[in-house]
Amino acid sequence: MITTIRGQNLLSLHDVSREAIVEVLDTAESFVEVHRRTVKKVPALKGRVVASLFFEESTRTRLSFETAAKRLSADVLSLAVASSSVKKGESLRDTIATIDALGLDAVVLRHRSSGAAEQVSRFVPHVRVINAGDGLHQHPTQGLLDAFTIRQVLAERRGITPSDTGATLFDGLHILIVGDILHSRVARSDVDAYVTLGAQVRVAAPGTLLPVDIATWPVEVVDDFDEALEWADVIGLLRLQNERGTGSFVPSLREFTTTFGLTAARARRLRPETLLMHPGPINRGVELDSVVADLPAAIIERQVSNGVPIRMAVLYLTVAGVTSEVA
């Protein structure tokens, strides 16, 4: 069990403790304030070098990691290779070694292969590795920012400061995760974060998009989707990942939308306070209706903007690694 990510790699949320998660959320809260300043920079990682390696396409994750690193005054080396390292003719190991030769403190890695971040951490044990999404495995900063966003919105509604609440706002919170659980690294990280923080989690998906071992997950599989929508305080929709061949797991996108999509008709049954989340990019009209995505209860854009403070917190804690003022 990881009790703090200070000075550690962040590869997965699977073994990260509640205290460690709360520490990241609280640290991120302190960075939100930086965002409101005219000069949106702190010197916390001045002189440190962060490489951002994206071997798979990404817009928001990459931008928010690089923005986060720059706001911490780190030097950022950015390499986007939206194709397999093998096809490029250079192995992941060699690519990492090449970049490491430039003097690295941290690597932010997105890769289509599960476990790539862990492998890189073995190639460069002296460098902190932050997993920005590996295959079907984990996307820990997405799990953290989703938890951060939920806590922030619930605290605002009560007029309290999020960092005073620890994990208490998650106690017994009803969170429903809908869609392609099987192929989703976001689902794995979200479930780990939410359950660790004390929430009750249910999942709703067609039988083909549930992992084989779902019975061993600390979640409940929903029988009646419509009933679960009423139960939920928070609904996390997942992307139907057509690029991973998910299309053949359901008879048609239309049928998926009919059975598990958040259509306008279904949205009318939601309690008004129920939060709607989506890690993006959205397939409008598939997982959720366009109208629904624009409802006030949808906090999808908030998730995006919270990506920066969460990633600042993760970079700061893993790379700086010591307790000190944020400046």
């Binding site: 292969s113 599960s114 492998q119 794995r188 992992p211 084989v212």
Partner: protein
Amino acid sequence: MAAVIVRNGLVVGPESATVADVLVVDGVIVAVGEGLDAPSRSREVDATGCWVGPGLVDLHTHLREPGGESAETIESGSRAAAVGGFTAVVAMPNTEPALDNVALVTYVLDQGSRALVDVAVAGAITLGRQGERLAPMAELAALGVRLFSDDGTGVQDAAVMRRALSYARPLGIRLAQHCEDTNLAAGGSMNEGALSSRLGLVGRPAAAEEIMVARDIELVRLTGAPLHFLHLSTARSLAAVGAARDEGLPVTAEVAPHHFTLDESACENYDAHYKVNPPLRSRDDVAAVRASLVNGWADAVATDHAPHAAELKDLPFDEAPAGMLGLEHAASLTFEALGSSSADPIRFFALLSRSPARIASLRHGDARVRHSGHGGAVVAGEDANLVVFDPSARWRASRDRLQSLAYNTPYDGRELEGRVRTTIVRGDVVVDEGVLA
């Protein structure tokens, strides 16, 4: 006249074992007994405390030549075999190109005839191992090829497999199947289960293997042709083949050391050295494979020695090729699985020499394919393919001390019990004290 006398070892026959000397002259065992007189200038091998048995026979070796010479060659693979106590190996046909015609098989047999151990060839069942059209099995059988397989994958189409069995039966050859339904196992890189799900790796379910085993048992029933099941890895596969054998169907089965030594948890850190097909299975399956060594469900231990260039095993787990080295540690791992100090030497040689020699039709020498006889009793008149195995040895496996060109052993650093001390091929001591002569 070249003579070797192996002194004072426990000579392990098919039914009993007794301490004796074994005298070899000009490649043939000429006498077995106590206190034998040896000709002057005989080479003496002291086997006190050791087992002396027929040289080991590997039914399942990937020598990678032609096409994969950066990972292994026939020459380097035969050195690894000799160090591992093997006096004969069956080279699998999934080379580049596949061994599906007379010219290629002749090439491998020619290279093999210059190698340290006898190299037999398994021919492909279908052209290019594509699973569509039959390879020229009769022509290859005429060369002396006795075992055929599309190993790497199995023949997926049941009608093609049925045709292959029917074609093979009158030729007196044996087919060997890699049982995995490629559709069910598609994209998979480890055993399917809770661990693969947590790691985000697509799984290869046990059912992918079991379905094909069940299908092929029915095809054996339909055609009457013998079939050998390669590297079975699940309890249900082994039970199914065991039941078919009890019914009298002509089926045989091998198991691989990694499937009775390592379980799926080895994949936990995404180290591709533990990636293999069929995959490392659950703990229960590993226990069942181990049990099959003694309950008779498995006929043979075969290594599935699969060399890969080092850079390929550094790839991400899902992109890395499947397969691990096996020749140099198989004897020790089998000895351990049989209970180490309580291991039955008769069973040990049945699994690693006598049954595989019978399945591969290597029991008697065949001049056409230039191999000698293997897996026999240790008696006068037999070809002198022998191994001296020290059951009290303790040693540590190391990737830096392999004869194989490749390094992809999953056993690096592992403490092992029992060790091949001497390997004698056609009367020549090719390995002594565990090192190449």
